[in-house]
């Protein structure tokens, strides 16, 4: 798992961390039953305030993605992959929506938007099991 934090993108840091954990679960980089790094380890690795990491973990627990295992730390729940996949889909939809809104503001017609979309889609490399996109928060 490679996490990173960007202070310029307007997304609160705890949310960036929570999102990256979810992406890692959705990508199977983090699997059911596996532990996330401790608050201290994650905070030191990312050089962010430990309270920020603790908050991200609290939210992930509240959403049912992580569960405390007595004495050992926080583990990925069996429900997490489904939750994280749904979340990822929702996030992608949101981004798509904001791009579409921008396209509308620039007075592009529906056909032009579709053309752009198809062009970009067809220029993507074909998906194979091994080349699944890496974790990203942006």
């Amino acid at each position: 798992m490679l996490f990173h934090v960007d202070t310029d993108n307007g997304i609160p840091i705890y949310e960036q961390i929570a999102r990256q954990v979810k992406f890692a679960v959705a990508n199977s980089a983090l699997q059911v039953g596996e532990h996330v790094p401790s608050v201290r380890e994650m905070a030191t690795r990312l050089a962010v305030n430990p309270n920020t990491v603790a908050r991200a973990y609290r939210e992930l627990q509240a959403e049912g993605v992580l569960v405390p295992i007595r004495g050992t730390g926080l583990a990925v729940t069996p429900e997490a992959p489904r939750i994280c996949n749904d979340d990822r889909l929702e996030l992608i939809r949101q981004r798509l929506r904001s791009v579409l809104a921008e396209a509308r503001r620039s007075e592009l017609g529906d056909d032009e938007i579709r053309q752009l979309f198809d062009l970009e889609l067809s220029s993507l490399p074909a998906i194979t099991a091994e080349s699944a996109p890496a974790t990203s928060s942006k």
Binding site: T7, D8, V39, A43, T44, A47, V48, N49, P50
Partner: protein
């Protein structure tokens, strides 16, 4: 809980300048507090007063419950302090300076110091004068951490250091915070502060204009850009507390706290299209600094009102 750092109405004047004016600040235990402000805003003076290296003209200062004006020596033995330009005996080796400092602290200091030295990859046999700026800074940090202080004070710890050393400094700081100890740092590296700070204290010209949890400051501040149809249309009045207002021809940019977005939509109906975004700490700080430096006296008095109306709200 007793604050680890307490400034109460502190004023400090030098012959030609008022360095601090009625500054009050409380830092609760376990908090990383960043002191921000332009050069000469009074950050170093505040730190030196806390450590008992300077005396206040009025008000009181204390650290870990010890009065700074009389207990400087005890304070300096209990906190870790890294000055902006640490003075070290440069004829000593890295190891010797650890032994030397150990004489002032309880047992176990030298062992912990040597652990930090190894962790930072420093050569114990090298003389201080042979070290690069980054390595010297690491020695100073190791010396200030080796007695496990309850409070770590860093005065622009990373200025002039390369990216890797800065990162190592940040990691050490986070480690201190993760153990529940407190950190007070002054810095110009806003992006770093944004990562590690729980609370920020912003000094402008010797006055504290903002003491707040970083999260609250960011959550309640918005940047509004309104594009007016022409230069003659008067800009709308912002429904919220205006921190800064910068007009660019007929585009106006505001930094606003506690913005009422529903009312903004109303007031902009006749004015023009607008966008609202959540600014980062750097944008907020720049807006405050610019507004302060601008000749508009009105802006100054607005900031002054803010000081009185903003109670010190430490993180939970």
């Amino acid at each position: 809980m007793r604050p680890v750092v307490h400034l109460d109405n502190v004023t400090k004047r030098y012959p030609n300048v008022t360095a601090l004016e009625n500054v009050s600040l409380e830092i609760p235990p376990g908090v990383v507090c960043a002191l921000l402000g332009a050069n000469g805003a009074g950050k170093t003076t505040a730190i030196r007063i806390l450590l008992g290296l300077e005396q206040v003209d009025s008000g009181t200062a204390s650290v870990l419950g010890i009065d700074s004006s009389t207990g400087g020596l005890e304070i300096r033995s209990r906190v870790g302090y890294v000055a902006e330009r640490p003075t070290l005996y440069d004829w000593m080796t890295v190891e010797e300076i650890g032994w030397f400092a150990a004489g002032f602290y309880p047992l176990g200091y030298a062992e912990t110091y040597n652990r930090y030295i190894r962790r930072f990859g420093l050569d114990a046999r090298k003389r201080i004068r042979e070290l690069s700026k980054g390595m010297r800074a690491k020695v100073a940090l190791s010396l200030s951490l080796a007695h496990s202080p309850d409070l770590l004070i860093l005065d622009e710890p990373t200025s002039g250091l390369d990216a890797l050393v800065r990162r190592e400094f940040l990691e050490s700081m986070v480690d201190v915070a993760a153990e529940g100890r407190s950190v007070l740092l002054s810095s110009h590296q806003v992006a770093e502060v944004e990562r590690v700070a729980d609370m920020v204290a912003i000094l402008l010209g010797g006055k504290l204009v903002c003491v707040e949890r970083l999260e609250d400051l960011k959550r309640t501040t918005r940047e509004v850009v309104v594009t007016l149809p022409d230069a003659t249309t008067p800009p709308p009045s912002m429904p919220g507390q205006v921190l800064a207002h910068v007009p660019f021809a007929h585009e106006h940019v505001w930094m606003v706290r506690d913005l009422d977005e529903a009312r903004l939509a109303e007031v902009c109906r006749n004015a023009g299209p607008y966008t609202v975004r959540s600014p980062g700490l750097e944008d907020i700080l720049l807006a405050l600094l610019r507004e302060y430096r601008s000749p508009a006296g009105a802006a100054r008095s607005r900031l002054d009102e803010r000081v009185e109306s903003t109670p010190v709200t430490p993180p939970q």
